[in-house]
Amino acid sequence: MRPLSAMACSLCRGSSNDAHGKAAGVSELAHASLTELGAMLERREISAVELATYYLARIDRHRDLNAFLDVRAEPTLAQARAADARRAAGEKGALLGVPVAHKDIFVTRGWHTTAASRILEGYSSPFDATVVQALSQAGMVCLGKLNCDEFAMGSSNENSAYGVVHNPWDRDAVPGGSSGGSAAAVAARLAPIATATDTGGSIREPASFSGVTGAKPTYGRPSRWGMIAFASSLDTAGLLAVSAQDCALAFNAMLGFDPKDSTSVDRPQEDYTRHLDIDLRGLRIGVPREFFAAGLEPEVEAAVRAALREYAALGTQIVDVSLPNSALGIPVYYVVASAEASSNLSRFDGVRYGYRAKHYEDLLDMMRKSRAQGFGAEVKRRVLVGTYVLSHGYYDAYYLQASRVRRVIADEFQRAFQRCDFLAGPVTNGVAFGFGEKSADPVAMYLSDLYTVPTSLAGIPAMSVPCGFGRLGRPIGLHLMANHFDEARLLGVAHRYQCITDWHTRVPRGY
């Protein structure tokens, strides 16, 4: 990893802290970037214990957001003390002593892991997820576990068994989902960075709704070991943070080959900050015309088009591309993801751990009732859909056909990348919606993922970068996508935009 001084961006005017001017009267510390926090720790201006204590107090003060599911000062401070000891012993590291919070999909020792489900209430994992362990090894201090949709199934965080999460920009709006707790926590600066997972848009949609930066790497780059499985062929760990630069720093510790995950990709370790100062001149950004079709709200389109103009001004070439079958992404996704989920969730049967029904007739009845009482409505819906599409006589028509169309969609991305280096478009068709607005209509809810699902099916890296605000002051995100394993340049492309805009440094009032 490069020394800290080399990571300050030459393209940002002055120090990045000053460049992205802030509203007066808000706390400086909470608004510091990961890079700045690392530098402060290195200069001994603050200790990891002080930093952790500070964030724990903020989390406590903003409990009403319901972003966190489990906060425990004791293990957090123990980790902070360990980080301070490491630094005192001469160890250096951009992340050493910097706080992080984990989506409750990642199993952790020291905190309960529930996947926001009743069926895992009070569950303690005997091991850490690889992602958690990797960040911990880099010295990051865990602040606790973040709320999300139950088993990461949802686009609004309304499916958590432990209550909704409020959007810090507008308490009446959803923060997005499934990583709603991660997005809200970072938006409200209750954590400088948070882990998240993206199966069909669960990082990018909440990033867009909550006005934070979200990054989903290539499928296979982050280990899935210790990530409670929803749809194994799609589940990808990633980050919600303030900036692309912060994501790049944390990716350096978080991504890499893991022999415990057979779908993990065995490639050499990379420095994800190496392209932050990428020269955009001559690069081509493809704009899929299908992403601007009917249904896209004008305010979102306007913000995204404005961002594209910024890129054009930076010297990129904007090219028109087509992903003709991307609209099939939603049905394909709900067949494939539900099928895998129906099988992945079979282990929650009340036999070995987790919730067990109090009254039952026999073994089978115990399993049946435990699942009926332990799972929420959306989880049951997807298990039913998944069970149906895998059933004898339906498999070919649904699962097999969906797998074929998935391949077609992935191939279309490859064709598009022959014409451009990156893709850009909206993340969602509108800004964050209000509680209950879509929860009665599952299909409307599923369509929230229209633009994010195709990239998940293709397994390519993608980001959501704040690019403006829409009605009621709710944030809008710019969707950036790259080809497999091109996340370092993707982060650079996002960073260059963040060097000339300040959407990402804005903090909701009161935080």
């Binding site: 990642f106 005997p126 749809a231 099988s343 895998l390 699962y399």
Partner: protein, 484 residues
Amino acid sequence: MPSAWETVIGIETHVQLRTASKIFSGASTAFGAAANTQASVIDLALPGVLPVLNAGAVECAIRFGIAVDATIAQRSVFARKNYFYPDLPKGYQISQYEIPIVQGGALSFPVAPRSGEPYIKSVRLTRAHLEEDAGKSLHEDYQGMSGIDLNRAGTPLLEIVSEPEMRSSAEAVAYARSLHALVVWLGVCDGNMQEGSFRCDANVSVRPAGAQAFGTRVEIKNLNSFRFLQQAIEHEARRQIELIEDGGHVVQETRLYDPERDQTRSMRSKEDAADYRYFPDPDLLPLDVSPQWIERVRAQLPELPGAMRERLVQEYGLPAQDAAALTASRGLAQYFEQVAQAVSDKKAAANWIMGEVCAQLNADDMDVEHCPVPAPELAALIARVADGTVNLKTAKELFALLWKREATSVDSVIEARGLKQITDSAAIERVVDEVLAANAAVVAEYRAGKEKAFQSLVGQAMKATRGKANPQQLNETLRRKLRR
């Protein structure tokens, strides 16, 4: 009465592979540990765990595939077989479904029917695929509750499926025995049937002799010995024939064999069969087996029993039956070769091993690997019989001493106990003369035509030499003297 019905049998065998660790986790596969002490977080299916394929299990499958001359799939796929059961922690079993690693192949083996001549039968194999074993439910030990032991969960299995090409219980048992011998021979299975390392299910149907179409088949489970396999097939074929002859028809179903009552009872019918909702396991990439890997395994493969049978016939001039018996296990065959190479009479080596050695091994329930008579000593014993140092009777006594470890060296015990055969004709004549003189009455009986009296005189003379006289010489001398 010749039966007008033909029985058709296909066999599915679950072979537990002899890997140190499980097929998708690092937990030990050793049998008999305290319940749930050999179940890792993966075997327990805790949230967040993922399977990683054990290459050792794949190698076992390749070994087997080469041995039965099957096609080893360059790419095979693990699927999930979904069903709920308390001892199935994930709620699905990882098993190869559409594309198994071993495809086709055949097994040839000798069949010795109860009546008629022995013959060689060849049965084609459909496939052999890798999968994981489930845990065990213990219903007996807990009042009103079930215990779950997940030590077995994740133990690698090779499920070997034969074509329905066997036509009698004798063929089915011969197939199962031969398959058992082969997987043990290859070192891919410990062969322990009591511990469930080798488990057979039989698909049985009947049809009028000469008919082409198959009858409705019934799958019989729980056949954990060759005897049960035979009994269950015979019982089931009888049941089906009686059913049809009484105007009924066979229902496709799974039946459980109850050895205590020697009957099968229905477990579930085809209609009740679960929909397993197979689909490729997204946690595991397709399994690629390179031609180089296959060649590497082939190079390490021991000589196979079929090839060895032929070689024993060629090289040692043994009858085919002997070669088949001696290749029942790799250990026995190796033992034979060690003995045979040290003696000139190869047939004698075969006879000793198939006779005395196997009888003692069976009596003591022992593997040839633990045989107390080392091959060089048995060879020495055979050599001493051949060169006339001891007679066969003494040799067998000597063998018993070696078996009981009361002697370690054939030659030194012959020396020490003075067991050397008496071939000195003067000495034998002397003994014979003494016996004739002392048994005048018996001699008279013999001369009166009582042949039995001769044997009595032989016995007396043998006794006088403490069994060491060369029997042939003794007989001749006695006849000669009595003729006078």
